[in-house]
Amino acid sequence: MFGSPSLARLAPLLLLPAIGLLLPGYLPQYYLYLGNVIMMYAVLAIGLDLLLGWAGQFAFAHIAFFGIGVYGTALLQIKLKLPFILAMPGAALLAGLIGLLIAIPATRLRAVYLALATFAFAEGAQWVFNAWESMTNGADGLRIPAPSLFGHVMGNDPAAFPLVATLLALVLAATMYLTTSKLGRALCAVRESEHAAAASGVDVRGTKVIAFAISAVYAGIAGGMFTLYESFANPEVFGFAQIVLVLSMIVVGGLGSVPGVLIGTVLLGVLPTVMRTTMRDLLVWQELVYGVILILAMMFMPRGIWGFIRRKRRAVRT
């Protein structure tokens, strides 16, 4: 967690935009949709992991910022006629700003209270998305305009795929820089021991606030990615079930580790789809199977898949 990511470690990320450009020619639309969804969730999950796994702050307002990202990107294009390339960063920055504002009172709270307060904020945000009909069109859903970049129009899965992949690559690169930096170490220090961190010169409160803001920006970016391939935004998407899904992804994958989160995202992102196709007549079993998987995962790999792999590796070494 120190040093700068070398070119050797950054180079593989170039595969993503490359795959993004190649695959749409070969894969059917449904798999491209799945790919888009998983890549978007990857950004969302890493953002939550930075706050939960790295900084150790159990805050669940994340989905609210995702919503701000989605509605923000769409509305900036609709109302202010901004092109996507400005709308998405704008929405992400807005999400970050609100994250900052929430963080200031929230970081005064301890564990359980922080969790419940941020959760209440997320539910409150969902209510706002529903109730502020003049902006969001409420429960009827907001039609997302097809974004275009340099003349290339998106709004459907194959067209969006390359850009979604590229955005993911950029986010991963930024994450690599973040986690190996002084700030990355500060996040861990705050998580492990606030006293040692403070005595070592880390501004604990400030670091927590920054973690909130950065996490919110990630969620905002994920929201922007969502608008690339989805055509409707519905408040339903920004609710409790979504928070639980993203949380499960990072816990099952492995809190505090980027590879772990990516594994968790792919697994739990793909799982509902796999279940839908293999258990076509047994849709009603879906929730049950999902619940059993979560329980089994926690019973046998409570530190997540990556935590399990890391422990096995260490055992082999000694």
Binding site: S193, A196, A198, G201
Partner: protein, 256 residues
């Protein structure tokens, strides 16, 4: 008259109805090793926690190098040149030895914003790592560089706590029970280390300690606390013979 290097001046700390420190004063000379002793619950760690700015005294002042610490937030204390270790060895358990040391170096590593790939950032990190590795060499932890702190044995964890504190190149080092749980040979090594830090590197050391052997061997001056109040102060021989001190440790009716 020059201001003392480090001093507490009539500091009182209250927790609800309990007075943990009562008008406590102490002066520490630059480059010396000063011990703070007293029975359990006397308030010794409270003193350190005030200096670290985890607690705020209800009265009194704490001054370091001529400026008051009371207005300084906890995270700026390290940057001023004061570092400390903890009684409970507060380490970042899942991080490796070198990462813990790097965290200790935080006040000296430039830059906070990570999204700037650039030669300067890489160079700063490289230099930080090099310094950290040098420190690990000096404290005998080099072989454990990439071991997570939670996997270390107790003695090495204490060394790491110390290395973390030294990483910020402090001019004042507060050690909270550095000898607790150490074996005799390790205590002798600690003795030599502390003397080396003070005499050769000019680091002023204040240690809270129960292990009298170490205190008597290294301390230039000893302050004794009991029930939040200073009951004795002076060189080792004076304090050892002081009846108040004997009574505090052994109870009434005891004599040397």
């Amino acid at each position: 008259m020059t201001a003392p290097f480090f001093s507490l001046d009539n500091v009182s700390v209250r927790f609800g109805g309990l007075l943990a420190l009562q008008r406590f004063s102490m002066e520490v000379a630059k480059g010396s090793i000063h011990a703070l002793i007293g029975p359990n619950g006397a308030g010794k760690s409270t003193v350190f926690n005030c200096v670290s700015r985890f607690y705020t005294p209800s009265e009194g002042d704490i001054a370091f190098e001529g400026r008051s610490l009371l207005g300084v937030p906890a995270h700026r204390v390290a940057g001023l040149g004061i570092a400390r270790t903890f009684q409970n060895i507060e380490l970042c358990r899942s991080l490796t030895v070198i990462e813990n040391v790097l965290i200790g170096m935080a006040p000296r590593v430039r830059g906070y914003f990570p999204f700037t790939p650039g030669f300067r950032r890489a160079a700063v990190e490289r230099q930080a790592v090099a310094e950290a590795e040098a420190l690990l060499e000096r404290t005998g932890l080099a072989a454990l560089r990439d071991v997570p702190a939670e996997a270390l044995d107790f003695g090495h964890q204490k060394k790491l706590d110390l290395a973390r504190a030294l990483a910020s190149k402090p001019r004042l080092l507060l050690l909270d029970e550095p000898a607790a749980g150490l074996r005799n040979r390790e205590i002798a090594a600690l003795d030599a280390l502390l003397v080396g830090l003070a005499r050769e590197q000019g680091i002023t050391i204040v240690l809270v300690e129960h292990v009298m052997r170490l205190v008597m061997a290294v301390a230039d001056r000893i302050t004794v606390l009991n029930f939040g109040q200073k009951i004795a102060e002076g060189a080792a021989a004076e304090v050892r013979a002081d009846p108040n001190v004997i009574e505090a440790y052994l109870g009434q009716g005891s004599h040397a």
